[in-house]
Amino acid sequence: MRLEIESIDIKDLQPGTKTYAENRILSVDLKELEKLILQDSRIKSVDIHLVYPGDRVRIVNLLDVVQPRCKIDKVEADFPGFIGKMQIAGSGRTRSLRGVGVLVSNPCTNRKYSAFLDMSGLVAEMSRYGGMRHISIAPDIADGTEERDFEDAVKIAGLKAGVYLARGAEGHPVDDVEIYDLDIPDLDCKSNLPRVAYYYQLYSPQHDHLGISDPCFYGADVRNLWPTMIHPNEILDGGVVGAHTVRALDTYTIQNHGVVKELFRRHNKDLIFVGVVCGVANMEPVTRTRQAVMASNLVKNILGAEGVILTKIHGGLPHVDLALVAEECEKLGVKTAIFIQPLISYGTLADTLLFNAEAVNLIITVGATMERIKIPLEADRFLGGTAETKIYCPDPIVQHAGDPLIDVEQFLIAGVHDHLGGSKVIVKEY
């Protein structure tokens, strides 16, 4: 399977009467984009704004961040299962716009965790999105629409907006082409390089809002996913998207998946990238064990891996599932490297481990994503909500987006941490 991602570096963004790109400037017909989003009857209206680095603006109620991308050589193939027809993602040509993003807000959310981004001040400095230009979209719910149904609509509106922008850049010279070419059935069996797989924990149902899982895999939710093998290109090219909250993870992060890209970069040089096994975190110990045993079997006996990198999702519980998969892999003789996320900044690194498995002895600290930080208010404008929008704090502190100082955990600031290994953050004892 061969995927070519053709990137265009966008240096500026402006409203226009037509959507097109010229000299790295993307003009957007906001009316046309609005019309496109309003095609969904679950959306009554939508606020669309362009935001720029240095703007004194705080974007709240973030549900997703999307990199504008579209398929060049296939029809109805963008984010298959979500907006495109069901087909396997990851082959052919994809146009990708760099330096620009879609910030997707759900102003009607009742969720406890509400992510945000500032375009100036400390947050802008910390976030990889702070230096980019964005289109902020914030749809309003149509009468009679169920809360969860509306969330799906908002998510899809963000994906559609991303596709729309990338399509608009047709004809613009390409700055960079990345090629992801991996033919798993024809891998070099005689190579002396170690065979390395990736175990991708896709989802955890632990925070399912109103008890319903978020669709994030070809349009479906994966709460009951059996361990499944996929091609890594499927991840990069729209087969997988973020859940309905930004918690150190969003669609943009998946489109630029750190571990997948690194394994590709080292493929045939330092290792043979043999493929990906997906799984989920589980709520029941019996299921957890069954899934871990099955996943390790795929890694060892189907992909034939000698080593595997395992990444996790969200918070505490998924550590347990992930460690169990790693333990089962080690039992089968597959060497593991496991990502963890210390949940609290008190203690030594060893104190924060949520599993006790001697064989799982190579641990990567992807970031203490729940590290607390106090953010002074820089913004005088709020998008996706208002100055009264609640900002979550684990202590019983009630705080709002317009407060002079908010006390937050970093995972709710979009673009600071990356569960998939793309950020240059390590956790150290201080």
Partner: protein, 367 residues
């Protein structure tokens, strides 16, 4: 007037020494209480020299090692009262090198002053000094040699760290930008906290590098060294329940509505007690409670808190004479992604309180 103006511009420093370095006497004077000398003294002269024009050592607080280490908490408070009037910007203590009692004293005075005045507190110790483990959380303890031969170097080192801490510079190596120097580069013992630090390589790059080393059988450098858990021996069973007093303890996060004690729903570090008669009477109202715990669905417990804290059953058992007494208070905490270290500390704290109340057994209910 000149001196006053200069004092206003310079950082104000107080220095703590024991009886020996404070030039009062040796072991024979170790029982003396606190005294205050104006200006620097002994090692303080080197400290003043290292601080130069930036800061002035206004006073030296001296105390005997036995006096201090006999009751470090109380002595720390006593020392704090003497230090407070100087309104210092920085406190230095020692360095204590390998001297155990002196190390404890330096740590305790730093703890009292740091907690109350919120200023940087700096001391120095040799790695084996018991003061390191006791007080590293509460002070910047610079690594020193094991004897006073290392004095000049240690003072220089402590001064550099102190000036850096007070400089107000942004820590660009940290995601939080806090002014928190790296422990290894600045030679102090880590203070048992974690911080997100920027590094050269992404987590993805590091994971591939390290996994390849592991596959080659080379040292791979895990970013977390696995802890060694101690085995806890269960105590002997209760011989006769009919004469024993049982206390209910739960980590399910049950608190009165409004969560007056501020337990955190995740990563909680606190525990508290509630009087059962008022907290969970027989005619309780569901609406009076909330759950400070984000790790489970609390619906059933909010309907009836006895499902988490079985007061109803215990009352029955007491009435039936099967159990001697139900302790009138309930111990509540929230155990959700809390670090094992703090769990152990809370266990010790609760254990001491339970012992003090002469309770014979604990019923621990979880979620």
């Amino acid at each position: 007037m000149g001196a006053d103006t200069m004092g206003g511009e310079k950082l104000k420093v107080v220095h703590y020494l024991n009886q020996f370095f404070g030039q009062i006497g040796g072991e024979d004077k170790a029982d003396i209480g606190f005294r205050v000398k104006t200006g620097p003294l002994g090692p303080g002269l080197a400290l003043q020299k290292a601080l130069g024009e930036k800061a002035e050592v206004l006073a030296t607080i001296i105390c005997g090692d036995n006096y201090f280490s006999g009751n470090p908490e109380q002595a720390g408070e006593e020392g704090l009262k003497l230090i407070e009037p100087y309104e210092p910007d920085l406190l230095f203590a020692g360095p204590a090198f390998a001297a155990g009692r002196y190390g404890v004293a330096c740590g305790a005075i730093c703890k009292a002053v740091g907690e109350r005045l919120g200023i940087p507190v700096i001391t120095g110790m040799y790695q084996e000094n018991p003061g390191v483990e006791m007080y590293r959380k509460h002070a910047y303890i610079c690594k020193t040699g094991n004897s006073a031969r290392d004095m000049a170097e240690s003072i220089r080192h402590m001064t550099e760290l102190a000036l850096r801490l007070i400089s107000g510079e942004r820590g660009m190596h940290l995601v939080s930008r806090e002014n928190l120097p790296k422990p290894d580069e600045n030679g102090y013992f880590p203070r048992i906290i974690l911080r997100n630090e920027y590094t050269e390589k992404t987590a993805a790059e590091r994971s591939v590098d390290k996994l390849l080393a592991k596959l080659r059988g080379q040292p791979f450098g895990s970013e977390v060294i696995l802890p060694k858990f101690e085995k806890v021996e269960p105590p002997a069973p209760i011989k006769d329940l009919r004469v024993c007093e049982i206390v209910l303890v739960s980590d399910g996060g049950l608190v009165p509505r409004g969560n007056p004690d501020g337990l955190s729903g995740r990563g909680n570090l606190r525990w508290t007690t509630y009087e059962i008669d008022t907290f969970l009477p027989e005619n309780f109202k569901s609406s009076d409670y909330e759950i400070a715990h984000t790790g489970y669905f609390p619906v059933q417990i909010l309907e009836n808190p006895n499902r988490l804290v079985p007061v109803d059953v215990m009352r029955d058992l007491v009435n039936e004479g099967k159990i001697g007494k139900l302790h009138p208070a309930f111990f509540s905490t929230s155990g959700n992604a809390t670090v094992s270290r703090r769990c152990a500390e809370m266990g010790d704290e609760m254990g001491a309180e339970i012992k003090r109340r002469n309770i014979s057994a604990v019923l621990l209910t979880s979620t």
